[in-house]
């Protein structure tokens, strides 16, 4: 017997007991159906991902445009969508581009003139497009506000003990934000800013924060709000206060204060 015949015999012997399972056709068809289902699911997921990638940036930019600072061009109450949920992305206050009266430049805040409202229209009379009692557009140095807040009155300046303080407040259904900018000598650190503020006090919060790279002190307020103070530069101290509902936004708001 030569090798070829031996090979044939070996093959016959080797596969003598091999047979296809009775369920082979059913297994194959089941496998095919599972494969088709997998492909369809993968295609569906891929299509959903493509749609999400296409839609989300547009949606985000739409939401980013909903910062509800009291821009005069937004309507009688200066509303920019206060009812929209969520927070707006930090961005320049729309009043800068809305054709509303220009905000007071930062150099005017610490000027030497007598105390006056910060905004370009006097309190109680409303701005060119706003009703009486409207706080008008936010100052230019306030580059971010959580959505749903508006100023009910213009920022005001107070002078006391050789220090000039600019006080601004925005409020709405989502809570409230206050910013106090103090200018004067003797402001060496965040403690000086807090001590000199009318809303001083509170419990220090553990951990150290920094705003614009400067050391800051965060404290919890008795009303469960929170405040943060820092010295922006020699002679300029800033205190930012937020209501209980906006505690988590404190740092973001603080970063948006750029006098």
């Amino acid at each position: 017997m030569d090798l070829e015949d031996e090979l044939r015999a070996a093959m016959v012997e080797h596969v003598a007991d091999a047979s296809a399972p009775a369920t082979l056709a059913g297994d194959v068809r089941g496998r095919y159906r599972r494969r088709v289902a997998r492909i369809r699911v993968a295609l569906g997921v891929g299509a959903a991902a493509v749609v999400a990638v296409a839609i989300i940036p547009g949606y985000q930019s739409f939401r980013a445009g909903q910062v509800s600072t009291p821009a005069a061009s937004d309507g009688p109450a200066g509303r920019g969508g206060p009812d929209e949920p969520g927070r707006a992305m930090p961005q320049p206050v729309p009043s800068r581009t809305s054709g509303a009266p220009a905000p007071v430049p930062s150099r005017d805040i610490g000027g030497t003139e007598s105390p006056r409202p910060l905004l370009s229209h006097p309190p109680g009379q409303g701005g060119p497009d706003g009703p009486s009692g409207d706080g008008g557009p936010a100052p230019g140095w306030m580059t971010y506000l959580p959505s749903g807040l508006r100023a009910l009155r213009p920022c005001a300046e107070l002078e006391k003990g050789g220090r000039r303080t600019t006080n601004c407040r925005w409020s709405g259904t989502n809570g409230w934000v206050e910013v106090h900018i103090t200018r004067g000598s003797g402001l060496a650190g965040p403690g000086d800013v807090i001590d000199g503020a009318p809303t001083a006090g509170g419990t220090p919060v553990a951990g150290k924060d920094r705003v614009h790279g400067h050391p800051a002190v965060t404290t919890d307020r008795p009303d469960r709000g929170r405040q943060i103070a820092w010295v922006e530069r020699p002679g300029v101290g800033i205190l930012v206060l937020v209501g209980p509902a906006l505690r988590d936004e404190l740092l973001t708001v603080a970063e948006g204060v750029r006098p």
Binding site: M1, E6, L7, R8, A18, A20, L24, A25
Partner: protein
Amino acid sequence: MGRRDDQSFVEFVAERGTALMRTAVLMCGSRQDAEDVLQTALEKAYRHWGRLDPESDPEPYVRRILVNLMISRARRWKVLREIHMARPPEVPADPENHALELRGALMDELRRLGPRQRAVLVLRYWEDLSEMETAEMLGCSVGTVKSQASRGLARLRQRLGGSLTLMGG
């Protein structure tokens, strides 16, 4: 002209499944691999079953898928397969059991051949295909089939030299 349907697929598998399974076992070496490769081959054929000519025999088409699958899979798994490959016995066997052991050693050596050489030998000596048909099945020339078969047999002869002499081969 009609189209092939599910029922004809079931009938084909029932009729030719075992033959295809045996070819797959010889080409793959192990029963589990053979069953998996056969299922994959049949699934590929099933995908295009409706487009196959109902008048022609689908078996060569399915077998061609099977052979191509086995060759490509064997190349992918070459390293693992070599590690798990059983070695033929080094000690001469008892002459009475020699034929039996020689066949076992032949199958072991067949599995150790490259996938293409193994496919050529299986198609030529198991399926009894001509060199022309084998070449067509593998998508190569007749000359390639001849040389692959010749080299495959030479390698088997070389590795089993002593045993074959005892058999007078």
